[in-house]
């Protein structure tokens, strides 16, 4: 058997490793996708006051502290059995909307964009945001930086800090905003709507307008038919901050909807001997292995899955884009709902969400009540147990806390966005490898990158990968023949 490994030469935080096993005929037999796990966060939290969690959980990693902040605040609300007043809900969701625009923009231009704008076969040194800027132009680059700046500014106005917000507490927030700030946030929201529409235009012309990329998105290399998960509001429309969790089958049939606190009735975890991470799956369907289809309990929780799960978007421009998305990628099939299974379409789905988040920010900031002083209800009940769920950019995020009667944590359970997607990511990588590596194959940088594209669409987060130095991830590919001898080594030194 030939063994092919995509593996960093140097052990760095947050790296992933892909191993591809080939049979004697040179066909892909099996792939393994391993990710390192940061350990001990739950244990670190036990013994601390639950009020600390909204600030503390933002330290899990530097990628999406806002999502952990919100999930923690909502779980802490639930621990005290308290519902924050309406202005608090408006403020939190406004912060969260600004965060979504910022995070999705960064992913689209810096992480996903290089595969499309520069091309999967381009030298690795060009396949980065610099290459994207050369393709889309400096003005577009300035708009990206401007949108990030504006997003961080909104997060700072509401959350107290631009990166690690700290104002959400059980029952609401520690501070509100002024009328001048409300007005400024509204203006920023309008500029973000413009930016999201601009980004969709970029995707349309440079990606969907390119036959090769369009074929890659529409083709079967990156297609897996799994269940989909997403938060929906009472009207069945997507919501990032709150709602019920809806599960939809690959054919569009609804498996069910549940209150986030009921997650133990819906989700189980599969343990595999070759990885520390567990694989969540749908209890009602059961674990059938790394296979797709309606009989397999594998589900996906991403921007794509949220669009598949929801009936639509709650804002007009995003709704129009949602309809165009499905009309383009999933012609009516007579089923209960059009579904998009092409994983690379996740990049487009991310832009639909970005437009929704921007429009939603305008809606929220236009509500005069958002500048009210009534931004907190004081908790009075005895704390016990609570669950808080939000949609993080990378999938449904759940915090579950147990406390004693003083509010001291006795147990903590977190289900983070990337974990939801571990099984489908493994499947997407294997499918891409099977499609791209055949007898007589030449393992080139481009082929490896096309396999990496399979998991990059999920925007996986492997912990605190954002701040390690030296900050580069060399990759090494080792080819072994059936006897296990090395026949070739391809090394990418960052």
């Amino acid at each position: 058997m030939t063994r092919l490994t995509i593996d960093p030469v140097t052990r760095l935080e947050g790296h992933a490793k892909i191993e591809i096993f080939l049979d004697d005929a040179g066909e892909v037999q099996r792939t393994y996708f391993q990710v390192p796990e940061l350990r001990g966060f739950e244990r670190f939290c036990v013994g601390r006051p639950v009020e600390e969690m909204p600030s503390l959980t933002g330290r899990i990693c530097g990628v999406c502290p806002e999502a952990h902040h919100m999930a923690a605040a909502k779980a802490a609300d639930a621990v005290y059995g308290i519902t924050p007043p309406r202005p608090a809900r408006l403020l939190r969701e406004a912060l969260y909307s600004a965060f979504f625009v910022t995070d999705h923009a960064t992913h689209f231009y810096a992480l996903g964009g290089p595969d499309f704008f520069v091309g999967p076969d381009a030298p690795v040194a060009e396949r980065n945001i610099l290459g994207v800027l050369q393709k889309v132009g400096a003005e577009a680059g300035a708009r990206v930086i401007g949108a990030r700046k504006a997003g961080h500014h909104v997060i700072e106005m509401i959350g107290g800090r631009a990166i690690h917000p700290c104002t959400s507490v059980p029952g609401g927030l520690t501070k509100g905003i002024t009328e001048a700030q409300r007005s400024e946030i509204e203006a920023i929201g309008h500029s973000m709507v413009d930016f999201a529409e601009f980004s969709i235009g970029v995707f349309d012309s440079l990606v969907m307008g390119d036959p090769a990329y369009r074929d890659a998105i529409l083709g079967d290399v990156y297609r897996d038919e799994t269940y989909y998960m997403g938060l929906v509001d009472p009207n069945g429309k997507l919501n990032f901050y709150d709602g019920r969790i809806r599960i939809v089958a690959p054919d569009g049939e609804r498996l069910g909807e549940y209150n986030p606190a009921e997650y133990p009735d819906w989700i189980s975890e599969r343990v595999e001997p070759w990885t520390y991470l567990k694989f969540p799956y749908l209890k009602r369907v059961g674990w059938k292995g790394f296979v797709d289809g309606k009989d397999s309990g594998v589900y996906c929780a991403t921007p794509l899955s949220r669009l598949n799960a929801a009936d639509g978007m709650a804002t007009p421009k995003a709704q129009a884009e949602y309809e165009r998305f499905f009309a383009t990628l999933a012609p009516a099939n007579g089923g209960p709902k059009r579904m998009v299974h092409q994983r690379l379409a996740t990049h487009w789905a991310r832009l639909v969400e970005m437009l929704y988040a921007a429009e939603r920010l305008v809606e929220l900031a236009s509500d005069p009540e958002i500048a009210s002083d009534n931004f907190r209800a004081m908790p009075t009940a005895t704390p016990t147990e609570g669950v808080g769920t939000v949609e993080a950019p990378r999938g449904t995020l759940t915090h579950h806390y147990w406390t004693d009667e003083r509010g001291i944590l006795t147990k903590v359970n977190l289900i983070v966005g990337t974990t939801n997607n571990y099984a489908p990511m493994c499947m997407s990588i294997e499918r891409a490898a099977r499609s791209l590596i055949h007898r007589g194959q030449v393992v080139s940088e481009g082929i490896l990158n096309r396999i990496e594209m399979a998991f990059r669409a999920y925007d996986p987060c492997f912990g605190c990968a954002t701040h390690s130095l030296p900050g580069h991830m060399p990759l090494e590919v080792t080819l072994r023949d059936a006897a296990g001898d090395v026949v070739d080594v391809i090394r990418r030194d960052g």
């Binding site: 052990r11 935080e13 390192p36 796990e37 940061l38 350990r39 244990r43 601390r48 600390e52 600030s55 503390l56 330290r59 530097g62 990628v63 960064t106 992913h107 810096a110 992480l111 040194a125 396949r127 980065n128 945001i129 610099l130 800027l133 400096a138 680059g141 300035a142 708009r143 930086i145 401007g146 990030r148 700046k149 504006a150 961080h152 500014h153 700072e156 106005m157 107290g160 800090r161 990166i163 690690h164 700290c166 501070k175 001048a180 400024e184 920023i188 990496e452 996986p460 605190c464 990968a465 954002t466 701040h467 390690s468 130095l469 030296p470 900050g471 580069h472 990418r492 030194d493 960052g494």
Partner: protein
């Protein structure tokens, strides 16, 4: 056990209005969005949102502790910079005007870290590093360009770009970024398990790292005066 809040004392200096703007883009970047005026938000422990004090200017040095303060040895960068800031403020410099130095502790990389460096003349980055070819606790300082040879792919930082690529991107957009970036690295051991404790060799290396940063600051002070 102390909380994260106590691990993040507010910076010693009070951010001025101008210093509050820069959450990201700085001078030279075209920003089609609305101008972000100075915020009235008092922002407790605001350190991460803003480069502080007088804000980095062309002659200023920014000293950045990088890492996660609750992830074992990864927190060494913060610990070093906190001590450097204390020593820098306390050290008497008779007759000499203090060169402008900005201190910052962040858990950021890539574009977000680049955005924090905008406007500074030079930067010193202090971080836990795991090269695997140095004994744990080894302190070294080298230019960033030597630590990361050439530009790297965007996988470097799973969520945006490597710092060198982010710097190049920023410069291509006209941002004023430090001409000189030095990395003070501390070879780390335990960065995969949450906890506020540093391993013994890394803790022991703290004072050497502090001296290394002060030595570089001293050089810079001579240069900028």
């Amino acid at each position: 056990m102390s909380s994260v809040a106590t691990a993040e004392p507010a910076r010693g200096t009070n951010p001025g209005a101008e210093a509050r703007v820069p959450a990201s883009a700085g001078p030279g970047l075209r920003d089609p969005g609305p101008r972000a005026p100075a915020s009235a938000v008092p922002g407790p422990g605001i350190k991460e949102s803003v480069p502080p004090a007088a804000g980095p200017g062309p002659a200023s040095t920014i000293v950045v502790g990088i890492g996660n303060p609750i992830l074992g040895d990864d927190g060494i960068g913060w610990r070093v910079v906190e001590e450097v800031e204390r020593r820098w403020a306390a050290e008497p410099r008779a007759g000499a005007e203090l060169p402008p130095v900005v201190f910052l502790c962040v858990a950021l990389g890539g574009l977000s870290l680049m955005e924090r460096l905008v406007g500074a003349g030079r930067a010193i980055l202090v971080d836990a590093v795991r090269t695997g070819d140095r004994p744990v606790g080894t302190v070294f300082d080298i230019p960033l360009a030597e630590l990361v040879p050439g530009v790297s792919g965007h996988l470097d930082n799973a969520h945006d770009a490597s710092l060198p690529v982010a710097l190049a991107a920023g410069r291509s957009l006209g941002a004023e970024l430090p001409a000189e970036i030095t990395v003070v690295g501390i070879e780390a051991h335990r960065v995969e398990e949450f906890g506020e404790e540093l391993s013994a060799p890394v803790l022991a290396a703290r004072s050497a790292a502090v001296e290394a940063v002060l030595a570089i600051l001293g050089r810079d002070g001579v240069r900028s005066s």
